[in-house]
Subunit: 337 residues, 2 copies
């Protein structure tokens, strides 16, 4: 049983905390943040031990009636590994402390690859993360790219892939803070950053991405044109994707015609926050033309990295050396099937 | 001087009427519709002769104080060619009448290719439309595809092209009638209809499209991955695109970072309705990698077909047998340079 600490109780952090709490081979020691409003009350409600990241935060938390167990250093002293889900500039400072104290740590996809020297995607490179001191779980979009292209690569089908990424403008709960409205905003450069980011996990992938922000908050939508190593059939491609346990086929003809209908289905399923840990890929839209493959899928930007983070904890701590076993265990705990 | 009639004074029709009126080799005999509200007042303001499409419309128009010159048959008797910009089901009925009366006609991209047996895009196939009885000006998205790919084809660069089309959800003036909000809605099938539609003009084009509706009303945005016949340079590609007079290079680094900023620039330029007749292609975003080409551009769904329609009139009536001369004349009249 490994002791895990969570620093940064935001949209990713609160989900990671719940996911750690759902595992039987790791113990959530506590969550650490600076917030003292309704957001941290969610952790109070769940009886998580709460640590204050700064002296100021400790005071405002206590003023708000929150029972504070200790400060960030107290938390660090009790854990085998920290999952850092803080915003970019804060994570960079925290990482120095983890390194000084010799604590294993995981950062999220907003950080640079160089921060850890290893970037993680469970189905692609779990083994290379075994017993490392640190890794970075790549971002939502990059995770989806790696899952899908790794499946094609393992089946010997992938030559190269070119993707257009339609990105949600901002996170749902933050959309009052400013998003975009009645327009689209392309990323300045081709390739957009997600293609090179996927190569930080798998340098062999021949992948080029373009990206554009659209005025919606629910999830991302990717369109892919893939050159295959040989002419093949739709069935063979579907079989390749089915080897991934985190790609879910959806049917346009069953009314799943859009990001919002997919979101509602996941809420119907009782997933917390309607979280979709899987890549939701349209089976009936998928098209094979000779040695070319075309498909589209939806990515939940808040949820897809949660199972990846749990697997990364197992890899770094070495509590499970078999990638497939960790993935299966995580999937079962989160209701992915 | 050829006499031209316009039937269907909607978002396309009102623009076509103004464009015909701006030519010195054709005469706008009148516009014909059923509407009697603020929309037809625009034609009144411009002193266009107004014809009523039905007896009921004639009555409501007269009740609204509109001076009605005659009915649709009266208009047909006076013209050499009709441009039909009515909605789909109405155009199909009208076409029967044009054929019975032996009047040349042009329909818009919403109609089927079979309606006319010829589909038109000025820079691609003006010559094949010369003195025909009818043609169809292809839709906004298809027009943009043909302009860009024809330029690459003429330069000997185009092998095949794969595009992802982000479509505006509805026309700006109709967005209160229902659009989409905070979601994206893919077209069910790959290829989406625009690729095959482009092949109705140029069957040799190897083009496959995917399309998705996004919650905005300003314009479409296309991302293209093109396989070239050989490795080349960005400069050679730009030179190919420059051969088209209806592709405008825009610079992301000059603040043109989105559909709305581009729209505002065209309004600044004093274009009616901010109309963008050109394909607005990001020069600095465009990327060549070996024998692959990546670029993105914006398409004004209401305006791009207007110059095409003027050229189609010249081709069908035979008043100009040289495509380049017609295109140049149209461009000058509309301020395209």
């Amino acid at each position: 049983m490994k002791n895990i600490g969570l620093i940064g109780y935001g949209v990713i952090g609160k989900r990671v905390a719940d996911a750690i709490n759902a595992q039987d081979d790791m113990n959530l020691v506590g969550v650490c943040d600076v917030i003292s409003d309704w957001r941290i009350q969610n952790a109070v409600r769940k009886n998580y031990n709460i640590y204050a990241a700064t002296p100021d935060a400790e005071k405002t938390m206590k003023d708000a009636g929150i029972s504070v167990v200790g400060n960030m250093m107290d938390l660090l002293d009790k854990v085998d590994l920290i999952v850092d889900c803080t915003p970019k500039n804060i994570a960079a400072q925290n990482v120095k402390i983890y390194k000084e104290k010799g604590i294993k740590f995981i950062v999220q996809g907003g950080e640079k690859h160089e921060t850890t020297g290893h970037s993680f995607s469970a189905e692609n490179n779990y083994n290379s993360a075994l017993n490392l001191d640190a890794t970075r779980v790549v971002s939502c979009n990059t995770t989806s790219i790696l899952r899908t292209l790794t499946a094609l690569k393992k089946a010997g089908l992938l030559d190269y892939a070119r993707g257009t990424l339609l990105r949600r403008a901002t996170d749902p709960w933050e959309s009052h803070l400013g998003g975009i409205m009645n327009t689209m905003v392309p990323e300045r450069d081709i390739p957009s950053h997600q293609g090179p980011d996927a190569q930080s996990v798998d340098p062999d992938l021949d992948v080029i991405t373009s990206a554009v922000k659209v005025p919606e908050t629910l999830s991302h939508l990717h369109y892919w044109n893939v050159k295959l190593k040989k002419p093949t059939t739709k069935e063979e491609v579907l079989n390749a994707f089915k080897k991934s346990t985190r790609i879910k086929f959806i049917q346009y003809d069953q009314g799943l015609v859009s990001n919002n209908t997919i979101k509602e289905m996941y809420l119907d399923m009782g997933r917390p926050w309607g979280d979709m840990y899987e890549v939701a890929l349209w089976e009936d839209m998928l098209k094979v033309v000779g040695d070319e493959l075309f498909y589209a899928y939806v990515v939940d930007n808040q949820a897809i990295v949660i199972p990846e983070t749990i697997d990364a904890i197992r890899a770094l701590t070495g509590i499970e050396t078999d990638a497939a076993k960790s993935i299966a265990k995580t999937n079962k705990s989160l209701g992915i099937n």
